[in-house]
């Protein structure tokens, strides 16, 4: 974690830019890409890890995503924003193929992670999901103890060694900044934790598996402001080591935690670029209208 503590938790308003983003901008690289521009431009993003190309998504006959293309950079936090029903959660879920569970969903186009199209026939979905962790809107601790929740993802790949398990469980809980609160009660039911603690437990559980990418689907929408602040601090730290993609309907949150922002509207990607630019000088008037609260 190379982040100094002063930055964390400060109220960061639009226009208040963190130094490491600033330098990148000063290099003069255009960091945004709109879906109407040629795809090549998005390649100029710093090391895109997830490349989405011409993605169409259908629930039955209803089209939920239309020709979405963007490149999500590695080890940065990218926020997906937009009004309800704009397709931001749908887009997020395609990155770990969680949409496979939906009976009549159909997908066109490609999603490439580290150079491999995850919608290829020979993709090992189980392996993919171990590399791409997911945290859901409603915290989903299993009705098991805190320890067993974090160890779940390890045990299913056959890690039985108590010492290894102990180690990874502690490390993951520390990463999720939950360790100090639960270290004496690891055997307690996870359901007895508070909402914010449960969500951090779910983050720890996702981290324990050792993913490279962490998807978060409105992780704070069910939490009070205090718990939200803690999760945001956590996301801010995690992006040093993980590629974080977060869906949020809270625009202040997008500003606080993300380096890049994608604005979706009615299933289309309207604008994608550095969070600073999107929030200060949006290119598209729809983005501007949304950000200023004219709709959504």
């Amino acid at each position: 974690m190379n982040l100094n503590d002063q930055t964390i938790g400060n109220d960061i308003l639009p226009g208040d830019i963190r130094p490491h983003i600033n330098t990148e901008l000063q290099n003069g690289k255009p960091l945004f890409v709109s879906h109407r521009k040629p795809l090549e431009e998005s390649l100029e993003n710093p090391i895109p890890q997830i490349m989405v190309k011409e993605l169409n998504f259908y629930y039955g006959r209803q089209k939920a995503l239309s020709k979405v293309s963007l490149g999500i950079p590695a080890k940065k936090a990218t926020a997906l924003i937009g009004p309800s029903g704009c397709g931001k959660s749908t887009l997020l879920r395609t990155f770990s193929r969680m949409n496979d569970l939906i009976a009549n969903a159909r997908i066109e186009g490609t999603v490439t992670i580290d150079g491999r199209n995850i919608y290829d026939r020979d993709t090992d979905v189980v392996e993919l999901r171990r590399r791409v962790g997911m945290v859901f809107q409603k915290s989903t601790p299993f009705p098991k103890s805190i320890y067993d929740n974090v160890a779940y993802g390890l045990r299913i790949v056959g890690i039985r060694d108590k010492k290894t398990l102990d180690q990874i469980v502690e490390k993951s809980l520390r990463q999720a900044v939950l360790w100090e609160e639960v270290k004496d009660n690891l055997g307690k039911s996870a359901l007895a934790l508070s909402g914010g603690q449960q969500q951090r437990l779910c983050i720890a559980r996702a981290l324990a598996v050792g993913p490279e990418i962490l998807l978060m689907d409105e992780p704070c929408s069910a939490l009070d402001p205090n718990a939200t602040a803690r999760i945001e601090e956590l996301i801010f730290e995690l992006k040093d080591d993980y590629t974080v993609v977060i869906v949020t309907h809270n625009m202040q949150q997008a500003v606080r935690v993300s380096d890049f922002t994608a604005f979706l509207y009615l299933g289309e990607l309207i604008e994608f670029g550095s969070t600073q630019k999107i929030f200060t000088v949006p290119k598209d008037r729809r983005t501007e209208a949304y950000l200023t609260g004219k709709f959504g």
């Binding site: 969680m98 999901r129 962790g133």
Partner: protein, 290 residues
Amino acid sequence: MSLKNFKEALIEKIIFLSGIASIILVILIFIFLAKEGLSLFKSVHLGDFLLGRRWHPISEPPQFGVLPLILGSLFVTLGAAVISVPMGIASAIYIAEVAPPRMKEILKSGIELLAAIPSVVLGFIGMTTLVPFVKHHLNLPTGLTAFSGSVMLAFMAMPTIVSIAEDALTAVPQKYKEAALALGATRWQAIHRVILRAASSGIVAAVMLGIGRVVGETMAVMMITGNAVRMPTSLFQPVRTLTATIAAEMGETVRGSAHYHALFAIGIVLFVITFVINLIADWAVHRKLK
């Protein structure tokens, strides 16, 4: 009092009476059972009754030892449980988690149909098909054994186990499954480490109610198990169950005789067994994770 208020009060009274009727009935049945059954113990010692190895109610002097009957019920019930519990849970998992929607509908109605078959019909089918089969293939002197009874009773317990366990599995929030899969679990790993765990109390209840049904079953058992009163030593012998004893002998007793009271005492034993099973099921349903 206005008409409206009068109507309200009347309806309230009627609902109250209907609600309390079932409780009163249970209490009355229990009192009757206790009164008729307990008078046996004026002449017979409780230990001799429960642990006696001979049931000769019409010999002189009569012997009222129900141990062989209790063991007979136990053998048949355990046998049925061994068959129906794994099969029932497996088919509940298949219906709830694996089967495609159309298959699911077909299987669910199939299970319901199985529940609708009267036990005497199952007994009849067992008698004409299963009993000769068991006799022939296991090379036994008779096919009327505890084992045959277990197999037939397993069919009767299955619908209860499957439908209640399936409800419990379906009631597990989808989010558990999603979360498990998102962690890289395979479908089976998600089922057996998360979904089964989350549904465990409902599944225990399903098993207990299924077993409760088997313990109380009378007709099919009477037709298939051979009804020989002796201490059972193996599943492949004829046995007599508690229920079959009551059903077979009640018509021949003199009201108020020791034999008559002994049959009621058997009823109390049955009542206690099913009560305990229901208690366990109830405890399982309401148990919370520590």
